[in-house]
Assembly symmetry: C2
Homo-oligomer: 212 residues x 2
DNA sequence: CTGCAAATACGGGTTTCCCCCGGGATGAAT
DNA sequence: ATTCATCCCGGGGGAAACCCGTATTTGCAG
């Protein structure tokens, strides 16, 4: 019987190694390679083509969504499962558009992981219950799709999340403080929060921002 | 040769299982049990006594520091290594007082983990380089020890981190908004930050607060 | 070309934050 | 009994945040 070839992309060494061993325990699975970021992943693909890829979304150098998009451009048959810390409710359309076939949380257990891999390998989609609920709740609550952040807004969002004031941001970006405030306001409306505290929580949960 | 008996306490199933397998690979190590929170850990101790405990600090039900304190009260020979996501610079005195012998980050690799376990098992202490640097930097920078948060301040801190305004906090705690502002100011001074954004980052990095 | 989205900028207004100052009440410790 | 920490409450003020507009430039897609 042919084993399912799996690749793991995650920047946490211990976690990656752990997952590798967890999957190695399972008969039908074989981890062909693992690496710590999206750019290295694309290099590995040239030599070895896995059936299923477990992809962390939030990573340095190149994030999971971009890596998935680029990988699928060259290897359309690749099946990618996002493996994240939080249930990201705003990026899921981007992810699905990028070609992600499954989405599970890091706090799930190995049985769910196993099921996700098998399902996706067989041509299906797998989304964990918690994420499905949030997606459903979202589509009921918000009739329109999630507002996409502008490039500039993403810059400002990152600086706000890092604790910079509007004045400091205006100095860094060489724009008027008024402009910064406009971006702030737009960001707040798009993310449906009221203050910086809620914004940071939202940004972390939705992979717009991460500590360190 | 007698193996080193290890216990793993962490609320993330996949990570815990991964670590278990990583350690299982190493000849001298034997994982005797793993569990998802401090309270269950104390129950397990009654039946099986490990040599070294890998303890996540931030956990539901009972956090790692409290679990360590209680465990050492009954079993003074126990050696506990803290295994956290961030390099917590404010709790390290508490941790050392609680009896923690080592402190490493989740993003470290298995070799460092192995070394930490061996060192601590042999009666030594192990602190990862990154944490040592922060501790040194801190002791140079701040002559006085880290200011301890009051119980009330911890409550306010949690609410601030959850994105509540001072008015909302005053409503929740049935105190004047002026009192809330006093607490805020004291919290800001104790944590040496300037605004809510920096405060949340600080709180997360120092395990005063965590998402979800 | 034209329409639209994005980025830039400004003004004026309200609210919240953040800091300074002060005082009073409690309870524990010495 | 005095000291100390903690919690509570208040005034006042400046800075920043936040909300409401309008308006110009740029660039891209239809």
């Amino acid at each position: 019987m042919k084993k399912i070839k799996i690749a793991i992309i995650d920047d946490h060494d211990l976690f990656r190694e752990g997952i590798r061993l967890v999957l190695g325990q399972i008969e039908d699975f074989e981890v062909v390679f693992d690496t710590s970021n999206g750019a290295l992943f694309l290099e590995f693909l040239k030599n070895s083509l896995p059936d299923v890829v477990l992809m962390d979304i939030n990573m340095p150098v190149m994030d999971g969504v971009e890596a998935t998009r680029k990988a699928l451009a060259s290897y359309p048959g690749l099946k990618v499962i996002a493996l994240t810390m939080f249930s990201d409710t705003t990026h899921y359309t981007q992810m699905i558009n990028a070609g992600i076939k499954g989405f599970i949380l890091k706090k799930s257990n190995k049985f769910e992981l196993q099921q996700a891999i098998n399902t996706v390998y067989s041509g299906g989609n797998y989304f964990s219950q918690e994420i499905l609920q949030k997606m459903a709740f979202r589509s009921v609550n918000v009739s329109s799709g999630p507002d996409r952040m502008t490039q500039r807004e993403l810059e400002v969002l990152d600086l706000v999340c890092n604790g910079f004031t509007s004045q400091e941001i205006s100095d860094k970006l060489f724009i008027s403080i008024k402009t910064v405030e406009v971006h702030r306001t737009n960001i707040f409306h798009k993310s449906d929060v009221r203050n910086v505290g809620e914004l940071i929580l939202w940004a972390i949960k939705n992979n717009y921002f991460s500590i360190e």
